[in-house]
Symmetry: C2
Subunit: 124 residues, 2 copies
């Protein structure tokens, strides 16, 4: 009784996010993969990004300026988005009081998303 098939396309999507290491969006993943596997479809990229995020293998770090970005790094860290150049930086600061909040007022917290906005060093 199988349910999930381990297709090469799914592996390619996962590896692309990992190798690019730029909090890639679907289009960037697609462009990266077609250099080695030209027949892949954009729909397949979107589908697998959704599934990999759903299963926890990748992390959906949010939708900024129109597109959704993904991260392969499961370690605790947050993000800073420069409002000028739109570059996404990692922020290693750890906030244990957020991480340890697993429920409040009857709401079961399964994950959270913390993003900072401002101006980066290069742009100021």
């Amino acid at each position: 009784m199988e349910t999930k098939r381990n297709t090469i396309q799914r592996q390619l999507v996962y590896n692309a996010v990992k190798e690019l290491d730029i909090h890639a969006n679907a289009e960037q993943v697609y462009e990266h993969i077609i250099t080695v596997h030209p027949s892949i479809s954009r729909a397949t990229v979107y589908r697998n990004l959704n599934q990999l995020a759903e299963s926890g293998e990748l992390l959906n770090i949010g939708s900024f300026y129109g597109t959704t970005h993904y991260d392969h790094n499961a370690n605790d860290h947050y993000h800073f988005i420069c409002e000028k150049c739109k570059h996404i930086y990692d922020i290693s600061n750890c906030f244990p009081e957020i991480k340890n909040l697993t429920q409040t007022n009857g709401l079961i917290i399964k994950s959270h998303n913390l993003s900072f906005f401002g101006i980066c060093n290069e742009c100021k």
Copy 2:
């Protein structure tokens, strides 16, 4: 030397977000306004939501499940999004170490966005 005009449309958009009090998105704001001012255009709603968020009168609380949501409450608080019913709840917990972080590694932090995801009381 004038710059910003206080149009009734801008007031309607602001008041709609406030009166709806559901972290409304553009379409919800539009649907609310046309009941009282049927001639308003969606473009005007989008334009004013952007401007009101830019000026700080409203708060862009992020893009979830495809659309951007707005909040009229400027007080410190965060949000919880139920992954099942997609309802957005207020979380009143305050995290001063986040709020007080104004720069790190040369990045100038101007704002931040913290959202929690999980299952709400009604859905579990």
